[in-house]
Symmetry: C2
Subunit: 410 residues, 2 copies
């Protein structure tokens, strides 16, 4: 795409009321727009990144058998009363609204209740199980404060998967698969090495749940890392669980971190409330065992910006970058246009800075936007035999012939 056609403009300064680094950079780059504290629109560049993150997540969810659906925002209070989660005393971050006739509705902050109820139409026999379903959908949480940019919003995207199993063994098998799927996701988007599977409190059904915590000075959580096993323990349970649950190591490293995802065994809590049962092979009505598995794609985008950016701007991992190549034309209109066409023909995602602005402005914007390959075409580069290529996360550039660059991108 030509940058002269991209409607968003970069800014030198973020809005003064924006205190989080991720939102500051994303607003300055034109990736998101702040509507209200904790409520951000996604502009074209931001939406491209988000969709790529969504597709990384989808691929892993599909691989473990997840079927995608899309639940609603508006929630019937009767459904939530069945699990005692309607009351504002029990759930303190509901957004609620009203129908014309005065009936109060909720705005979904999660979807266990409606999805369990819906499953009653589709589960009756052992032959129907196991099932896992997921969605990538907008959720609402009425946070008293919202200071973490897109890492903790009042309105945010969530991938939530729910599993339905015949028994504990079947549930555990899926739960273990989900751990691997989650690790794959964090590795793929470039934060695997700083993201730890973290033991957290498990509720009545299982001893632990698991969070995936990414080390970050902006994180609101504290975790204790076991460097032998590359797992961690959440602050919440460190008093009961003072050593690594995997190897017994007691030398744990205390770190600040942000929760990038979590997986949770729900047992029969919801199936009991909604009487979600199946007939087993003996014809007996049996409660379904459930689990829930969350990742916030927008939060993940925020974490990536928060942890991988440098003083000049964002550094996108290639797989989720809005474009692969940022082509900067420095006064070589014809040659640059021709090269741009060649890249397009090869199917390379390229942002072509064809604007009539100074070289300095182009460089600064390129660093801010964080596209993996910055490619300069200038009189100097052509005289030296081609284009000047620099990766966003490296300091040195190299001159390379146009053909070599095209081949390199294959």
């Amino acid at each position: 795409m030509k940058q002269s056609k991209l409607f968003t403009k970069t800014r030198k300064e973020a809005p003064k009321d924006e205190v989080s680094k991720n939102a500051q950079l994303l607003i300055r780059g034109g990736f998101v727009n702040k509507e209200i504290a904790g409520v951000y629109s996604f502009l074209p560049l931001g939406l491209k990144v988000l969709e790529k993150i969504n597709n990384v997540i989808r691929k892993e969810m599909n691989a473990i058998g997840g079927q995608e659906l899309f639940m609603t925002v508006l929630q019937d209070q009767e459904v939530w009363k069945q699990t005692n989660r309607w009351s504002d005393e029990v759930v303190d971050n509901w957004f609620k609204t009203n129908l014309k006739n005065g009936t109060e509705l909720g705005m979904g902050f999660t979807h266990e209740e409606p999805i369990t109820k819906m499953m009653k139409n589709h589960i009756s026999s052992f032959k129907d199980l196991p099932i896992s379903v997921y969605q990538i959908q907008t959720k609402f949480r009425n946070e008293a404060r919202a200071k973490s940019g897109i890492m903790r919003g009042r309105e945010f995207f969530m991938k939530d998967l729910y599993s339905f199993s015949k028994n504990i063994d079947e549930h555990n098998e899926f739960y273990e698969k989900s751990k691997i799927a989650y690790k794959n996701i964090f590795n793929t988007v470039g934060i695997g090495d700083m993201t730890y599977m973290t033991f957290a409190s498990g509720g009545t059904f299982s001893k632990y749940s698991h969070e995936f915590q990414t080390l970050s000075s902006a994180g609101e959580d504290t975790i204790y890392v076991c460097d032998k096993c590359s797992v961690a323990i959440n602050d919440e349970i460190i008093e009961e669980q003072k050593s690594c649950p995997e190897c017994g190591n007691t030398e744990l490293r205390k770190e600040k971190a942000i929760e990038a995802g979590n997986i949770f065994s729900l047992g029969t809590k919801f199936s009991e409330a909604f009487d979600l049962t199946y007939k087993n092979e003996k014809g007996e009505e049996t409660l379904v065992i459930m689990g829930s598995y969350g990742i916030g794609p927008g939060r993940l985008m925020g974490i990536i910006v928060e942890t991988l950016s440098d003083e000049k701007g964002i550094v996108w991992p290639e797989i989720i970058a809005p474009f692969k190549v940022h082509l900067l034309n420095l006064g070589q209109d014809e040659k640059a246009e021709e090269f741009y066409e060649q890249l397009n023909k090869k199917g390379v995602e390229v942002l072509f800075d064809d604007r009539e602005v100074s070289a300095g402005e182009k460089f600064a914007d390129s660093d801010l936007l964080g596209i993996p390959y910055r490619v300069i075409i200038s009189e100097k580069s052509l005289a030296e035999g081609g284009v000047e290529v620099k990766k966003r996360n490296e300091t040195d550039s190299e001159i390379i012939s146009i053909d070599d660059f095209l081949n390199k991108l294959k």
Copy 2:
């Protein structure tokens, strides 16, 4: 996909409180789930159709230069006060909610206001224009009654595009392009021949706006069709506009119809309220001319079901069908599995009914689900040389060799 793995089950009866044909069929087929009146979740089959409709729309919006973004549900009341649209007396279908501190927020029923405000960050010079942006996003309208299934929901998907132009000529040029884009969309999804561009009231800026109305006995609108020009006039303006605006024809055919889309010249109504201006070539601050262009993808799905289905079930046009082929195995497990693999390898989207249920049940479900090609593999079909192929919208079937069928689908 194997139907035995698809978690949704078909039903013989729709819920008793569901009065609309589109929702009855979609619920029976497992495409959607009713959460509250006018509020429907999209299950895997329904989401597949919706995504295909979205992609048809995206293609046309991108072709006329639209840049995709994603605005928020939660709305700052201050923004809406600037155009006097915050009050419930002015806009009677707001859903509103509250922050913890008591501040009232709106839930977007449209996005002119926030998008105009946001554009102030990105438009300053004549060089920045024209711009058109769009989103496919969830909107909320607090309808007193909701009886039209997914054709008129309280929570629904909307594609809304907004155009920003330097002057009336530039606006008109885009407006004409949008008409063609809309016609392309309705033609592509299979309702072009029953969808009429309809003259409707235009507001202060232009004499007319334009709706795209699809003939349907379930429609809530009345239109007057000019058969000479294949355009129509909306009931609202028929008293002032008694003849076809294109040819003067006064012999108009009165029909019931449902609005499938609309396009509207907004003039400077919103740019004035938000002081959205650009510097023209003489350096003068000039108000931007805007337009808005809506299509509801979920509504479109409802219209297609409402108008193209028959007494046995849904009839999906091929381009938006959840699968292209419905393969029914009647007792030929090995051969059917092999054929299924061949179809998958060729990249054909196939739903393979591998369930252990009667042939009659498979036929009934196949008619209900409405997949374009029903392909039966049975002892009889194999004895006669292949598979029995019937298109959903035709009555006759034919026996065709497996190789010929595979070639036919190329």
